[in-house]
Point group: C2
Chain length 329, copies 2
């Protein structure tokens, strides 16, 4: 159990998730004594839908993925992914070291046939609702072919989760005109246009938050920078907003009156509601929660895992890829 | 005179700039009749510090840079840049087609010795004040050496404009640890660490808005996506904030009371105050205003041009590069 807060967040989140999902059974992987103590503290020691699976090691948040993969065969994340591999669990949720989780998931579960690289996908809020964006940081220097695979995976996930029949797909680029952008993105555009995906063309950074497409595809370096920069902007705006309302007695009073409105506004942008990034493209479901999230955020990541398990996302991606490859022969 | 609004914005902005800068003379380049008519409308036909320089052509906002460069030798942007080349003007300000402006500026003015590619630099607001970010979209697939040149240019500009003696410099990356990121960024980190720049290491997307460094260096594709995504977030937040306050009579009342506070908050993030991106690395000063800006925004771009001309930014960059190159021999 990783993340910045470890079992202190994961266990209450698991208890919370059981309440909203009456058919779910959760396996808590980690130090059995720590887990048992915390379950008792939360009065959940007799909860039948929670079981403990011991793991003697833990991957540190700053540990090298390669070292974690080689040296920590009994880490909680490795053991949890093994449970997915042998079908004991339908999905794995972790708030731990992203790089190590990805390396371990890829090593243990392997990628789906036709997928060379798994990607990180998450839904980001937009003016119209939300957009699925991938890759958010699993890959750097993605090739045109990788971007096409990302497009297929994003489209399948969106149609399964949101029930959209033919989700719109865009490629993140620095100009809407065909002449702009780098060669890989332009080549990817040509390749995606040949598939049966509902491809809409290039989308610029601001188009993401205008909700121009259902699925937005990009290289992981670019996607990660865009995501982190966006988080930074939200943080800065909150800082200024808080400062503006705390300047003097009049602004404080105005803030007090506006408080319920500002709260509903904050809820709409609550990152916890959007917590849970999917490692897509693997033969199994792995959800990465934000390392610094709280109980509500982690419970949301569990919810995403449940939804994806119910929809059997990996199998559907495989099927779509097969159809796509058949169409090209 | 380009941009989405052309002379309708540029001329009142020029008149506004004259008021705040009593020593400045502005040359209005474009269709002389259109300009003369507008000057008369604004009662500025006898203003001695405004002169008209006729240009018979105009580059469209969606025109290919290569076609504009070859086919429009008498476009307003080409003529304005020529005036910088022959030292008639100390700087050129345009709200026109970014790609065409960059291609023309590079062709006419040439890059400074030691600079292979000019970059687009702008100051972005942060929690602490502002950070200079480059490249914001002039180059894609920048090499490690290009990133080093960007770092030098950004550092010189920041110390000249803000009077900081040794500005801190960071490289935009997707992880703070040395192991993350792509090869070009890692190589650039090694090279920048060998210079006399005050290099602080890698900065993630959110670190930009925390103001972790004075100057943030990145490839133009990444920088442009980060900038546009940030603009998109600001736009979305405003949308939600407006919506939250207009929901019903009570929220509207709260909004009315909070209005002055919200206005001061908006002013702090006003993109017009940060309007004016510098094409840095050329043998001359070229400032690109946002195409969709208004009179206040364009006047701010003129202000930036004046400040840079007063500080003779290109000469200082050349000097710093010479020192740097000497140090390496």
């Amino acid at each position: 159990m990783g993340g910045d807060h470890g079992p202190q967040v994961v266990i209450p989140a698991a208890i919370r998730a059981l309440k909203t999902h009456p058919d779910v059974h959760l396996i808590l992987v980690g130090d059995k004594e720590v887990i048992a103590t915390l379950l008792e503290e939360h009065g959940a020691q007799n909860e039948e839908r929670l079981s403990i699976h011991h793991a003697s090691q833990q991957v540190a948040m700053d540990e090298s993925p390669a070292l974690a993969l080689r040296g920590k065969k009994d880490s909680s994340m490795r053991v949890a992914i093994n449970l997915v591999k042998d079908s004991t669990a339908a999905a794995c949720v972790s708030a731990g070291n992203t790089g190590a989780l990805m390396a371990t998931a890829r090593f243990v579960l392997k990628t789906l046939p036709g997928i060379e690289r798994p990607a990180i996908i998450s839904e980001l809020p937009t003016v119209k609702g939300h957009t699925y964006v991938l890759d958010l940081g699993a890959n750097i220097d993605s090739s045109a072919e990788h971007l096409v695979q990302f497009a297929v995976m994003g489209s399948v996930l969106c149609s399964l989760i949101d029930g959209k029949e033919n989700p719109t797909v865009g490629l993140l680029n620095i100009g809407e005109e065909e002449i702009k952008g780098n060669e890989r993105v332009k080549e990817a555009a040509r390749l995606i246009a040949e598939t049966d995906l509902n491809y809409q063309g290039f989308v610029e950074g601001d188009g993401l938050y205008r909700g121009e497409v259902d699925v937005l595809v990009c290289d992981g370096f670019v996607g990660n920078v865009a995501l982190k920069a966006s988080e930074g902007v939200v943080h800065m705006i909150r800082h200024f907003l808080r400062e503006s309302f705390s300047r003097n007695i009049f602004t404080k009073l105005a803030g007090l009156i506006a408080a319920p409105v500002l709260k509903s506004f904050r809820d709409e942008l609550d990152p916890r509601a959007h917590n849970g990034a999917n490692f897509i493209g693997l033969q199994g479901i792995v959800i990465k929660s934000h390392g610094g999230t709280d109980e509500i955020g982690f419970a949301n990541a569990i919810k995403i895992a449940i939804i994806e398990a119910e929809h059997d996302v990996p199998t559907h991606i495989s099927k779509h890829l097969e159809t796509l490859l058949e169409g090209q022969i």
